[in-house]
């Protein structure tokens, strides 16, 4: 049994890491770090985990650092992970950092998108972007892997087959997100009377996750817009990409491209073209699972295309992909602890 230290364990993504590890056959929880909840039982914050962790209490940073573990999973806010990464690496733990701190490989890009220089640029060159579908082999050998942006991973998984072929001339990406994406702390924007049933367009053209998308798909910013909307779901991200292809394609071609790219990736699923109502994936279909579903339609002109991808932001968009990467880093089967079925309808 490997031992994992979970940081940010009182948060939304941290709680999901715990939910996964509760039944992981080869990894157990070494400690659950939260400074604000130190001493409280984990179930006081995550009541759904009570049967699994009846006696586990949160520990603070110091206790976390002095707990022996094979790997650390950091679900802490952007900008706070770097010192924890440094400490964990020093103690020879492997690290998966779900925050955005080491997602970009170029410190120049980091500065451009985050508005300040990176506190430890060496980490950026060491870290692997933690999407197994793109970097499986590198992750196996890595000691430091970044998690993925939930919106970013949804977009990347849906578009990389086309990007690899150089087919994306222009992409107008719509992303719809649920409320769990913003974490466990209440804000005016998450206040139920206002958040409920909203169709809130909160970014017209770009979002920080665009940096990861451009990096991983090797696209130029001028070719891509990313529009973000908050909608009435708790879990789930859905991407709609309106693509202009760089050359005329047939539907058959597209099928081959996706099929080839997705082969060997246990969590990627292509939607059927028929019946029509199943052509594009609804996040409802992946709730609670680590699945990513993608569907597409090609316009009769052969140049316009719609690609739709759906994931559960807390699973494939955060904790699920993080554990998937951890599995690879620990030499385990990629799917261990991650084969839970989606819950539908819910």
């Amino acid at each position: 049994m490997y031992r994992a230290a979970v940081w940010g364990a009182s948060g939304m993504a941290g709680g999901e890491v715990l939910r996964i590890l509760a039944q992981h056959p080869s990894v157990e929880v070494a400690c659950a770090v939260s400074n604000s909840k130190k001493g409280q039982f984990v179930w006081q914050v995550h009541p759904h985990l009570r049967a699994n962790f009846s006696n586990l209490a949160f520990c603070n940073t110091d206790e976390g650092l002095s707990t022996a573990a094979d790997i650390a999973l950091l679900a802490v806010p952007h900008g706070t992970a770097v010192p924890i990464i440094e400490s964990c690496l020093k103690k020879n733990m492997k690290v998966v950092d779900l925050s955005a701190d080491v997602r970009l490989s170029s410190s120049k890009d980091y500065e451009a998108w985050y508005g300040h220089s990176h506190p430890n640029p060496e980490l950026l060159s060491k870290a692997i972007y933690g999407l197994p579908e793109l970097h499986r082999d590198d992750i196996r050998d890595a000691v430091l892997v970044s998690g993925v942006g939930c919106n970013a991973s949804c977009c990347i998984l849906g578009l990389y087959p086309l990007a690899l072929m150089g087919l994306i001339e222009e992409a107008r990406i719509e992303v719809r997100v649920g409320s769990s994406e913003a974490g466990a702390s209440p804000t005016i924007g998450s206040h139920h009377p206002y958040r409920s049933r909203t169709l809130r367009v909160f970014e017209p053209f770009r979002h920080r996750h665009l940096a990861e998308i451009l990096q991983e798909l090797s696209l130029k910013e001028s070719a891509v817009t990313l529009t973000m909307s908050a909608v009435e779901i708790v879990r789930g991200v859905q991407m709609l990409s309106h693509i202009r292809l760089s050359q005329k394609m047939s539907e058959r071609d597209i099928w081959q491209i996706y099929r080839k790219a997705y082969a060997g990736n246990p969590f990627l699923q292509l939607c059927p073209a028929k019946p029509a109502h199943l052509r594009f994936p609804d996040p409802k279909l992946v709730t609670g699972s680590n699945n990513a579903m993608t569907g597409f339609a090609l316009h009769e002109d052969g140049r316009r295309m719609l690609v739709v991808t759906a994931i559960d932001n807390l699973m494939k968009g955060a904790a699920g992909t993080a554990v998937q990467a951890a599995n690879l880093m620990l030499g385990l089967d990629e799917t261990e602890g991650l084969t839970m079925m989606p819950v539908y309808p819910v």
């Binding site: 994406e181 804000t187 005016i188 924007g189 809130r200 970014e203 908050a230």
Partner: protein, 57 residues
């Protein structure tokens, strides 16, 4: 006791009091922009930096 100034963002008309002060922030009721009075003579406005409530995700 009030005069109209033109919004530099949307060219909307903003009613301001006569005793406008340098450094004052006025809000355009049309486009909502916050404008700082950087000089009074000639009247010069600049967009003020926005302080955001947390409505994103």
């Amino acid at each position: 006791m009030s005069k109209l100034v033109t919004c530099i963002v949307c060219e909307g008309k903003i009613q301001v009091s006569d005793d406008l002060l340098e450094g004052e922030i006025i809000v355009c009721p049309d486009c909502g922009s916050e404008l700082e009075v950087v000089s009074l003579d000639p009247l010069t406005l600049e967009e003020a930096p926005e302080v955001q409530e947390d409505w994103g995700e």
